[in-house]
Amino acid sequence: MSMIEKVSKWIELFGEKVTQNKETLNKLDTAIGDGDHGSNLTRGAAAIREKAEETTYDNLSKLFQDVGMTLVSKVGGASGPLYGSAFIEMAKKAKETEDIGEILEAGLNGIQKRGKAEVGEKTMVDEWAPVIDHIKSGSFTDEIIQESLQNTKEMKATKGRASYLGDRSIGHIDPGAQSSAYFFEALLDSGVLDDE
């Protein structure tokens, strides 16, 4: 498969994972939010699937850009602007390089620029940051995905709806980190990193 086919597969798998795990994500978001993260992303995934059916992409940048704009418009919730900004920055970076580590790092920058979260604030950043570190250093495995996700459990939220709960956010996995874990699991399964 070409890189663009593998990346399309990656995004498709991500969409399937969030849709299949909609209730899991909603449940995590019920504990420390408003209970809709799964529904939000499922809505986004459906919109992306629809767009993918009607478009053929010949470059990564356009694919990422469309995914980003779709997520911004369709997801609802904080994860819309956040995932959306990630893909929009990935689209820009994909014009310069096909290096997935660099592209994802641009995505992380997009998330941080949009949401102003640093590492340790119990957000999707706490999944993206360690995973990208390991991708760039060639030590990316499923264990890293799961470990980073579990690490969000004992963090206290200082961004997003969970931050309103203060200490009560501790002891719960962050929903955005969980959906990001699905994103990176899909990355592994898609074979995008196989040549790197």
């Binding site: 939010g33 408003d34 209970g35 709806r161 309103y164 709960l165 203060g166 200490d167 009560r168």
Partner: protein
């Protein structure tokens, strides 16, 4: 243990109803009573409706929120006429009620709720 609920008194009916919707999303098990406006559709607050709202609550301990100062005065008069324990917080009406409701839903005690509300206290 006594039950704690929320009361919101706004000058505008839509603001009150909107706050209730926003809050119930994250506090499905919390009793949230709201009142806004007077005479069905005018802007204002009243002692009578503030008292009725307090009485409508199934809770004996109430955390009360309001938008502008005259709403607070009517709430205070209502509290004088009620046997319930009602505390009014000088915090933003939307953000304060949301914070209190979300925390109540997760079982946080009053002391900790008040600590968090103090962080968003404003002169109003």
């Amino acid at each position: 243990m006594e039950k704690t609920g929320i009361v919101v008194v706004s000058h505008v009916r839509e603001i009150a109803e909107g706050i209730q919707r926003l809050i119930q999303e994250v506090a499905a098990d919390v009793d949230v009573q709201v009142v806004g406006g007077v005479n069905t559709h005018e802007v204002g607050t009243s002692f009578d409706t503030a008292l009725a709202t307090i009485n409508n609550s199934s809770a004996d301990n109430i955390l009360a929120f309001y938008d502008l100062g005259s709403a607070k005065m009517n709430l205070e008069m209502a509290i004088e006429m009620s046997d319930k324990t009602v505390k009014i917080y000088d915090v933003p009406v939307v953000e304060g009620a949301y914070t209190a409701a979300a925390l109540l839903q997760t079982g946080v005690d009053l002391e900790n709720i008040e600590e968090q509300l103090r962080e968003i206290q404003i002169v109003k």
